[in-house]
Amino acid sequence: MENLHFEYEVAGNNFSQAGMASDAVKSTLKKMGIASEDIRRVAIAMYEGEINMVIHGGGGVAVIDIFFDHIEIKLIDHGKGIENIELAMTPGYSTAEDEIRALGFGAGMGLPNMKKYADVLEIESEVGVGTTVYIRVDFH
């Protein structure tokens, strides 16, 4: 079977639009008949990554490839980058501003959630250049 390929623009700092790419991927998986537990893991991992692009990355693009037994999600931004990835992965660590936290974001649990729900999570980042997050979720 050919894989399905999608690309979505994610606007930076736009919180009413945030999550549209994850939503679209979720509906596609639903139509394909993927198990709801798998969809939940994909959707949450991708939403957390999408939100990070919106909040911290100034927006970017989401590149999606869906195979019969797994999905690959690449989230690419050209924002400020992450100085210390290990520190960023620490549960509770967040650099989000108060106004972001007032929206319910910025708990510092986004990357830990992505790690929890993804089968593979890889982060490449360079300060001042940008961040690429690779998420793979296997369908069970």
Binding site: G19, A43, Y47, G104, F105, N113
Partner: protein, 109 residues
């Protein structure tokens, strides 16, 4: 318990009730969206004071059964529209989260 029973117990306003016979079996309290996505059980009643549009997105992702906006907080129009568009149960109660949960437990017993 059925959602309709929870609505009575909380003297709640039905902002968007898709299925009043929905069976609520669990609960989750919290306002940080990532905690909800990491921990809220599927089909739960989610007690929160957050009212922005992202609440609905997270409820859908985490498969929350009903959003319970507490403390007399009012859902933003964007949240209401999104809940209607996505068929998400959304109710509001004047009680604070502690009181709302006490009433939930009492109604369940």
């Amino acid at each position: 318990m059925k959602l309709s029973k929870l609505i009575d117990a909380l003297k709640a306003t039905k902002v968007n009730v898709v299925d009043k016979d929905f069976e609520v079996t669990k609960g989750y309290c919290g306002d940080f969206l990532s905690f909800v996505m990491g921990k809220a059980p599927s089909g739960c009643a989610w007690f929160t004071v957050m009212t922005n549009i992202n609440v609905c997105a997270v409820a859908t992702l985490a498969e929350v059964g009903v959003i319970v906006v507490c403390e007399g907080a009012k859902s933003t129009p964007e949240l209401v529209d999104k809940a209607k568009a996505q068929d998400v149960n959304l109710i509001e109660t004047k009680y604070d989260i502690f009181e709302a949960v006490k009433r939930y437990i009492a109604a369940e017993a």
